[in-house]
Amino acid sequence: MRILLTISLWLFASGAFALDAATVNKLGFGDGDEKIAAIAALVAEGDPAAAALLQAATDGELQTAGKLVLIVKGEEAVNAATGAKVTPLPEEREDVILNNRVRRELGGAMAALKLISPDRATRLAAAKELTGNADQAMLPLIKKALASETDAGVKQLLELTQATLELKTGTKESRIAAVRTLGLSTNPNTKMLLLGILEKSKEGGYAEPDEDIRIEAQKSLKALEGRLAWGERAGVLFTSVSLGSILLLAALGLAITYGLMGVINMAHGELIMVGAYTTYVVQNLFKRTDFFDWYLLAAVPASFIAAAAVGMALERLVIRWLYGRPLETLLATWGISLMLIQTVRTIFGAQNVQVENPAFMSGGMELLTGVVMPWSRIVIICFAGAVLVGMWLLLTKTRLGLFVRAVTQNRPMASCVGVPTARVDTWAFGLGSGIAGLAGCALSQIGNVGPDLGQSYIVDSFMVVVLGGVGQLAGTVYAALGLGFANKLLEAWQGAVLAKIAVLVFIIFFIQKRPQGMFALRGRALDA
């Protein structure tokens, strides 16, 4: 192993030989402008040693010691200019600090160098990087890469970049072609370029004197704006569904305990919190193992069971004595919620705890340039759907579900035909609580986990259930998605603060008009 390392280092060292010392020093010690000049010079050199040096700078491995610029990997250091190994490692080292501006240039430079990589994915990533921040000096490199590029996707991106760069220079024909290519873009930055062409200067004339180009730019701009508008709509749709799925998860459990059973459960939010904290505990158990990325697989059932256990204990000990007395149930469950909050505060502390996302839930999927759907949100939408389907199957296809429906519709009759109503109540309450626990597990992935977590969702949950119509699962789904849309559309229009107020006002008026909610149970069941 050690020998291998030495050999690779030696190879690396011999490769890095013969970089211009002045340039390397500029990169190590210069100010922003000098660093950028040095990067440009290194790209122009184009040899592997320069690429290795730039890569080291990107990875933050560049350090200075005295007047030396070093590439430090672990405990080994080589002189960045000569490639000679530096032993022993100097004690006093300083990181070479790259700020955003330098890092942007560096990113562009690295991308330009990677365009000739044999790996398609690398090239595609590089081409994507360049669409945003290519600079005039890279034009020859891009042209060279285009000439040898075979992949259509990469080629399209490169053509776009080329068009961006050639917009200001070149002949009339090439500029018109460039403008046309830009019309095919989905990048919001392109809009700026096209608008720049159409801009009127202060004297009244156009910035772009050639009318043909202006006409083409107008056409391209229209096409681009149309596409961007669609992207924006898709974005709003996604965020609405995402918010709706969260509301749905938070409210589904309540749809059973309040909607079907009629228990005004003020501790519902705290059951969500119990689920979130269970996820936290499971995560901590998995932290010591190699399977951290899969902790959610264990956390989902664990949070269900934990919250269901708390819920069932709650039902057995308190709520069952209060059936038919909604006001007292409300106060008792509110008191329990305070106790649960305080218990968690005592065990875990008053501060928020950190629940980390597994790696596969970080980042997002890019739908169009600028419209990103984060994986965490996608997973939660799917999860909400799965919970919904599971609950529907349980309520309609199983014996327990049949009992629950029978008991909620006509308790005395169900009891007469031999349904153990008291036990069914406990199971149903446990089910509702368990689903709240699942919601907590999901919410821990996107929000904060703290003792007060439940408080921020209890109002939303009741809003959804009441709006949808008590006793109606379908109503809950529609209400959650509807509120998601209303909230997001209003937020885009009037900001988050006003959106929240407006939605609340809307619900108050709606309930005034239709106290039974969107969907109401019809028939004699209600009169009983």
Binding site: E356, S362, V372, G447, V497
Partner: protein
């Protein structure tokens, strides 16, 4: 009727219970000086404020170990106002009237400070406020050891406007909806206008406290940024920062495209957030943990040892930040002032505070202004690194004198830069 009675009783008993839980045991001892610590230990602000309580207690422990003040030990009285602004005022009154504390260290959000201010003025108490704030206030009963806007916000924006900072042309001013972000953004808007930025290039956005869904906001920022080089100035406060930065990372909004500079995000707030996608986003403070100087090294070591000894949450990765430094400076300057005045009498201590100096962990010698109750501070701008620390990329040449009355707000030119017995608060 019956129901209302019941609810009332319940509320009353809950309030009584809350007070019972909050107050700490008062072991009356002769020869101690009581010191109030008024920081939220629960609720949305606990993420930021808990460590301020801890660092204050550490300072008290250190001072006591060295023999106390005027031969007396300091006795901390810790209360938890639970991120509940009216409760801050109640707790402040309790500290001043029941516990009779000589000085109080506390508050983070400006709304909590505004809430306790009348209490401190009425009862002639003394408050040390350790967090950067919006200015527009000068009370004889308060010493502000955090930054005024010209010691944080304005230099940060100037940096982003410079070529080195990325030459931003368009600005998103994003904040939590309360007095600090609103006033800071008012100042920044006026400042940007004075630099020739048009109104259409400034987008001001607010979210409620504890907001957790930043999808729309981040998408809007992206859209806005398509109109030209954009920078985001974030005054989001409390635990909302975690979902905000998570969303930024997930949506792939990189600092090289749209840098976000934050005034309320430090090392502590980034604890546990995956900072790899956030590399390059900025924060402007008067202290960063990564600063290299002997004072800071010693202080960090002391804090790490204290956190370990007290088994504080996060002691495995002890972090220091700017408000902690400000709290640290505050309590030490108060000690020096008491020793100079030879009494804990509020008016005499206030007089003795003028011109106090203290060697700050940021590496400068911090000085309390002779007149305006604010510290002179050097300003640093740091970029987030992959390890959650900040890299200083820019700093002022030396300490900057605070301007509590920003010249960018109309009418401030007539205000005196010192308290004249009674407070002048603009609405």
């Amino acid at each position: 009727m019956k129901r209302r009675m019941f609810v009332k009783q319940l509320a009353l008993s809950a309030a009584v219970a809350a007070i019972g839980l909050g107050s700490t045991a008062l072991y009356a001892q002769a020869k101690t000086i009581k010191v109030g610590v008024l920081h939220s230990l629960s609720g949305t602000m606990a993420i930021s404020e808990t460590v301020l309580k801890d660092v204050t207690l550490m300072a008290i422990e250190e001072i006591n170990a060295k023999g106390g003040v005027l031969g007396m030990k300091l006795e901390p009285v810790v209360v938890d106002p639970a991120s509940n602004w009216p409760l801050f005022a109640e707790k402040a009154r309790q500290l001043l009237t029941q516990d009779k504390v000589a000085v109080t260290f506390g508050c983070w959000t400006s709304v909590s400070r505004k809430s306790v201010l009348p209490v401190f003025e009425e009862l002639n108490g003394l408050l040390f406020y350790p967090v950067q704030y919006e200015g527009e206030e000068l009370s004889k009963n308060v010493f502000y050891t955090g930054a005024a806007p010209n010691q944080q916000a304005i230099p940060a924006v100037e940096y982003l406007m410079s070529k080195e900072g990325g030459a931003a042309k368009r600005w998103v001013l994003l904040g939590t909806d309360y007095v600090y972000p609103r006033t800071t953004n008012k100042i920044l808007r006026a400042f940007l206008k004075s630099k020739g930025v048009a109104d259409k290039d400034i987008d001001e956005k607010y979210t409620p406290f504890g907001h957790s869904d930043y999808q729309t906001i981040v998408a809007d920022v992206k859209k806005f940024a398509a109109g030209g080089k954009t920078a985001v100035v974030s005054t989001i406060n409390g635990d909302s920062n975690v979902p905000f930065y998570k969303e930024l990372g997930n949506q792939g909004l990189k600092a090289t495209d749209v840098p976000v500079v934050a005034f309320s995000v430090g090392e502590e707030e980034l604890r546990g957030v995956d900072t790899k996608p956030l590399v390059g986003h900025l924060a402007a403070w008067n202290y960063f943990m990564s600063q290299k100087n002997p004072t800071n090294d010693a202080w960090k070591k002391q804090w790490a040892a204290y956190a370990k000894k007290m088994k504080l949450a996060g002691a495995d990765k002890p972090l220091t930040n700017d408000p902690m430094e400000a709290a640290w400076i505050g309590i030490h300057m108060w000690k020096q002032a008491v020793e100079k005045a030879k009494t804990t009498d509020v008016d005499k201590v206030i007089a003795a505070m003028a011109g106090q100096t203290f060697k700050a962990p940021s590496g400068i010698t911090s000085k309390m202004d002779e007149k305006n109750h604010h510290l002179h501070k050097a300003v640093y701008i740091g970029e987030v690194q992959a390890n959650g620390q900040f890299n200083v990329v820019w700093q002022t040449k030396g300490p900057v004198k605070a301007e509590p009355w920003s010249p960018f707000i109309a009418g401030n030119d007539k205000k005196k830069g010192e308290p004249d017995g009674k407070t002048i608060i603009t609405k």
